[in-house]
Symmetry: C2
Subunit: 331 residues, 2 copies
């Protein structure tokens, strides 16, 4: 049985052709496959179709041979089912498809377990409790205005506010210079109407661009362990992310915690902070990092086709996917 | 000598014709006179010109008789000088004009003193130190993304986040029902994808409208003194606003603190909280509330014309302005 599994994300889309023998036979890479982050469903689906097409070509199978498609995307609700039926048919894929959430795929990328938790901190922040390979409860993921505590936007926004306050002499932080560099602003501290020119420029740049662009400042919070202002931002982000896990936790679900997302990937201190808060709240979950949801989408595709994915099977899917991915990307 | 004084704000513009005898002779009311809050300089200046025209008609003086114009607006930088020269000439006002800041005007609406502090909490939040009737230093006023801590947006944003968390069962607060009512959302707690329908609706409404619309939720934070979640928001707003005063304070400037702005106007608890924080920091400033900057713009106009405005003169300006305003508005 030939299955297509897709992890459609806000910056990139990856597809895998996986067989019920548990072997990943081919990989296809494409761009932004999330219609919510801009561009609309047609453009996003175009990337999904490209990724599947490239994976099929890589595996040496025709699109008509694909017997089921599993499409993991943000919240699992990124595309409407009616739209997908037509869109898949239009590109020659008539197999049944199932929509899954990105956090379910992330969870299944990290473990063969079917119960547990996943936590993502990327541009947004969301925690889910997984039961039987599906989301039993979702916490946060409410976007930049209503939630996403501890996300890249949330951290970058606090960096920007701290830098603006520091430029006005209200606080002191080592983040000023690196933040201005990220924003492309000269560190000109000469005063104009009682405020450094660099702060006038910061105001101009921040209100000219999209609020989301503040996420680019998130890495600045992790540059200097000895800066109390940035340490407080990282601590509060860790507490917020840990609280999402605490709030989604149920005593009867003991499985592992799979973590992922762009912010989590690069920043050791954030994950250490989260684990410390969880332990102090009595939650001592095994923590697994996952890069993305591609292996998980394949695992979900296999389980959807009736294949049992135990620890050994999981390792086969993971290893063959990693091999194909390494061959494709040269990494 | 006949002077025109204008308080051009983000929601309304008020003009006064004041004589060097200290008497307010007429008042003119118009709409949004701040080009920053939308509509551009031409539309905003149209409101300024309307307010002056109505004030002159009310006072029975011709525009050509006006010998100087004092225009107070956000930051004092709302209009460019070159634009104003042409725009005033185009409506028949050829008198010299001076641009002043809204916080300077607010300060001079509350006191005859020339040194002290003013603090505004409206849609934005700013504190200034006043020396010789001019802003010696400005703190915050950096807008909704970079600052404005304790402003209407800042408070409303926190109300929205708390309500979203409460709808997901993460916290408990009495703000849920009134906030949903303000947003026009039915309190439907039935679950869809593990989240109450009211929360899905909140997400939809918040991300459809302008972020500024969240300021409409600010009053919800003040409804229930016994709700710890809203009390924490009000406390943090009060601490943030007090900190702006602390940061702008200089030991050699002992004058009063004049407070104003829409959030400050309606909410006794906020000002009490600010005063408590200031006292605990050793700042025991006399606090004066001011409704807007109209009296202060007149005081600045008079001082600009070389008139000394002492306590007695201030009271004459204040009382005659109040009388004319009451006659105009029926209040």
């Amino acid at each position: 049985m030939i299955l297509a599994a897709v992890d459609a994300g806000g910056t990139r889309t990856r597809a895998s052709i996986v067989q019920d023998t548990l072997e990943c036979r081919g990989i296809g890479l494409a761009g932004r496959g999330n219609p919510i982050s801009g561009g609309g469903p047609e453009a996003a689906f175009g990337e999904v179709a490209s990724a599947i097409g490239r994976a099929a070509a890589d595996a040496g199978v025709a699109l008509a041979e694909i017997e089921a498609v599993t499409l993991a995307s943000a919240g699992g609700t990124a595309f409407e089912a009616g739209f997908l039926t037509d869109a898949f048919a239009a590109v020659g894929i008539r197999a049944p498809f199932s929509k899954r959430g990105d956090l379910a795929a992330l969870f299944c990328s990290g473990t063969h377990e079917t119960d547990g938790y996943s936590l993502v901190a990327g541009t947004g922040a969301t925690a889910v409790r997984m039961v039987d390979s599906a989301e039993a409860q979702t916490i946060d993921g409410l976007g930049w205005l209503l939630g996403d505590t501890g996300s890249g936007f949330w951290i970058g926004h606090r960096v920007a506010r701290a830098v603006a306050a520091a430029l006005d002499g209200r606080i002191s932080t080592s983040m000023v210079e690196p933040a201005l560099e990220v924003m492309g602003i000269a560190p000109d501290l000469a005063l104009r109407t009682g405020r450094p020119i660099a702060n006038h420029e910061l105001v101009r740049v921040v209100y000219t661009q999209s609020p989301f662009a503040l996420a680019a400042l998130a890495p600045v919070a992790f540059l200097d362990d000895g800066d109390p202002v940035s340490a407080a931002i990282v601590d509060e982000a860790a507490r917020g992310l840990a609280q999402a896990v605490i709030d989604v936790h149920a005593d009867d679900v003991t499985g592992p915690l799979v973590v992922g997302g762009g912010v989590m990937a690069g920043q050791r201190r954030l994950l250490e902070g989260i684990v410390a808060v969880l332990r102090s709240s009595g939650l001592d979950l095994p923590v697994i990092r996952a890069t993305d949801g591609l292996v998980g989408a394949s695992v979900l595709a296999l389980r959807g086709a009736g294949v049992t994915v135990d620890a050994e099977a999981f390792e086969t899917v993971r290893a063959t996917t990693a091999t194909q991915l390494a061959r494709q990307t040269g990494l």
